[in-house]
């Protein structure tokens, strides 16, 4: 599993990862970077909600919720399956 590339929506809860790239339009990249979600950042996936609901990640010691559509555009490499959190 190590170093596998997944989207945020596919990532398991509690997984520690690093953002590789953001596949999406200029607008999506801009919105995400305003909240600190840029390539190179390390994140921990906290939760993913049912009914294709949002994905919640820890980034820079804050939590950010990304709608399912956006979460699918964020690609991460897995660093650690069971991280302790922030």
């Amino acid at each position: 599993m190590n170093n596998a590339q997944l989207t945020l929506s596919e990532l398991k809860n509690g997984t520690h990862g690093r953002i590789i790239k953001i596949g999406g339009g200029q607008q999506a990249v801009k919105r995400l970077s305003a909240l600190g979600i840029v390539p190179g950042k390390e994140i921990v996936k906290v939760s993913g909600l049912p009914l294709h609901g949002p994905v919640i990640v820890d980034v820079d010691r804050t939590q950010v919720a990304l709608g399912f559509g956006l979460a699918k555009k964020v690609f991460v490499e897995v660093l650690d399956e069971n991280s302790a959190g922030r």
Partner: protein, 600 residues
């Protein structure tokens, strides 16, 4: 002189604002937008200085309406106070660097200093000052710490020393500064933080959410009923009634003017609920029945907002709301609507796009019964058994879902994905809550009360002129055919325009069968919001869209009423099975549609 407060959302900007300014605060919309901002005044060495709380923004390259407004306001400030979250320098400093690049006289308020210390974050303030080239004042605004120092150092505000940079260079600079001034020591999760995580987990999140909403409604009910019982009703009964009675006698107890001002006497007495005069019912409904609940609602809403629960609620319901073309935050008007549709209608303006406003208004007005309506349904239908009551609410939920799925498919455009920061749980300050409550209540007085009065006048005229009776007679055959209801019920349904609970009250003496009651309650719940809600929506959406909403409403009411009639009187379970199949088909269609979209 003007001072602007600029900063990311959730950094306690409005707390700093409350601490700086006096009691006179004004909230207004930025010209040509629905973005609200607040301004107040600060006494600076005898001078009255205007302080403006600029909408929260992450960057000066706007990604949304609020940020566009923030950028537009920037040139109007003589001093900019940049409120920065000490617990999250990485993200906040990006905006600081952008502000410095604009060469505005700047001072940094390093807020949430206490929280940063709790989290084991140590920041070298003098070094940060040197690196940025502008004054930096650490503060814990919620406790009033650091406010005096901030005011004292305002004259030192100056433009910093950073030159023009590209986005990437700016991020690199932020990283370099943070590495030089910040040290983080490790520590364990606190209890509140564990609660934060549990609030957004699928299972525990929904359990906690249910609990929060249940408690919220209990508290709202308690405060609302308390205000009515101990304040509003005694005031009206003891102080206002004698005055009105004298006026009634002076006007001769009858006649057009009397009917218009005081209304019909019920058993020789003025009845505040049923007389329908402008001075009786017209004042009583908004002031003694709606207002107490408005206060209760906004108090609880303000608390949940400042505590940090609302973004979590939005996250929990985002999945469901996206299916009907809304995003998570639209859950707020829906929940408010369960209490009273008036504040719900007022809160719809906070939604982002016109499309979302339209969908949310339609769904809220049609399928969300307000509290007084719910109470009347329970009182009227409840004695006949929970099954009947259950059927009404199940029908309403199906209507909500069906309508939402259909609207989402038919309306042009799409709803962008949710993207929000989820702030940590924080105990709100009393001063901030009080100011917010004051602003919202004055908003309600300005925006809602005149419309309610106008509405009562219109209904009153329609009633007095006999127009309503004429309309009821004309509708009679329709009602009998589609809903299986007697002609008298038509008057009640038409009067429902004014107050739904009153209309249900008129149904009571008609000796309807339980089945007929269910049909009537369903139609009444669906077909119109009360006049106050209607008029507020009219102003928010405009004539054209409101006409569309009304059309949808009439069709839906006809369909829901006919369905209820069929289900109860003719087909029984078959009708429900049919509806179930139809709904599943719609959901299936939506799922395949989404799959196609995903693969495209």
């Amino acid at each position: 002189m003007k001072i602007l407060l600029v900063g990311n959302p959730n950094v306690g900007k409005s707390v700093v604002f409350s601490q700086l300014t006096g009691t006179r605060v004004i909230s207004s919309n930025y010209p040509g937008t629905t973005v609200e901002y607040t301004r107040g005044y600060l006494n600076l060495n005898g001078d009255r200085v205007e302080v403006i709380d600029v909408p929260g923004s992450y960057t000066l390259e706007p990604t949304c309406k609020a940020e566009e407004v923030a950028v537009a306001m920037l040139p109007h400030g003589d001093i900019v106070i940049n409120v920065v979250d000490a617990t999250n320098l990485e993200r906040n400093l990006y905006l600081t660097l952008e502000l410095i690049a604009r060469q505005v006289p700047l001072i940094v308020a390093l807020n949430l200093w206490d929280e940063a210390q709790h989290k084991g974050i140590v920041i070298d303030v003098p070094k940060l000052e040197t690196l940025l080239g502008v004054p930096v004042v650490p503060m814990a605004a919620i406790r009033g710490e650091g406010i005096k120092q901030l005011v004292a150092r305002l004259p030192e505000a100056r433009s910093g020393t950073v030159t023009w940079q590209t986005t990437d260079e700016r991020y690199a600079t932020v990283g370099r500064i943070v590495r030089q001034v910040q040290r983080v020591t490790h520590r364990h999760h606190t209890l509140l933080e564990q609660l934060e995580d549990l609030s957004v987990m699928p299972l525990t999140g929904f359990i906690l959410g249910g609990l929060v909403l249940f408690c919220a409604f209990k508290i709202i009910r308690f405060i609302g009923e308390g205000l009515i019982g101990f304040l509003c009703e005694p005031l009206f009964e003891n102080w206002y009634r004698p005055f009105l009675q004298k006026l009634s006698v002076a006007l001769g107890g009858t006649g057009p003017l009397h009917d218009l001002l005081i209304g019909q006497l019920i058993n020789g007495q003025i009845d505040f609920v049923q007389s329908l005069g402008i001075l009786s019912t017209g004042l009583y409904v908004p002031l003694a029945m709606v207002f107490p609940y408005i206060v209760a609602f906004y108090l609880v809403l303000g608390f949940l907002e400042d505590f940090g629960y609302l973004p979590r609620l939005a996250v929990l319901f985002d999945g469901l709301m996206h299916r009907v073309g809304l995003h998570g935050y639209a859950i707020i008007p829906m929940i408010l609507g369960l209490g009273c549709n008036v504040p719900a209608a007022l809160s719809i303006r906070n939604l982002e796009s016109h499309r979302q406003k339209f969908i949310a208004s339609t769904l809220m007005a049609i399928a969300v019964p307000c509290f007084s309506q719910t109470a009347m349904i329970f009182a009227l239908v409840g004695p006949h058994g929970g099954l009947y009551v259950g059927q009404i609410f199940l029908t309403l939920f199906c209507v909500w879902l069906t309508l939402g799925l259909l609207l989402n498919r038919q309306l042009a455009g799409y709803t962008p994905s949710l993207l929000v920061e989820i702030p940590p749980y924080r105990l709100p300050g009393v001063k901030v809550l009080a100011k917010k409550l004051y602003l919202r209540i004055s908003h309600f007085f300005k925006e809602a009360i005149p419309f309610i009065l106008l509405g009562i006048l219109v209904v009153n005229l329609a009633y007095l002129s006999g127009f309503i009776h004429l309309l009821a007679r004309a509708c009679e055959p329709l009602f009998a055919f589609f809903f299986g209801l007697p002609g008298d019920a038509a008057i009640a349904l038409l009067l429902g325009f004014l107050r739904k609970d009153v209309a249900l009250g008129i149904l009571a003496p008609l000796n309807l069968t339980p089945e007929q009651l269910v049909v009537a309650s369903t139609v009444l719940a669906v077909y119109f919001p009360c006049l106050a809600t209607f008029l507020i929506l009219l102003r928010e959406l405009g004539w054209q869209d409101m006409l569309k909403v009304t059309g949808i409403m009439l069709v839906t009411a006809l369909a829901a009423g006919t369905f209820a009639n069929l289900a109860l009187n003719r087909l029984g379970l078959l009708a429900w099975i049919g509806a179930g199949i139809l709904l599943s088909l719609l959901i299936l269609l939506e799922v395949t549609h989404r799959k196609k979209e995903a693969s495209a």
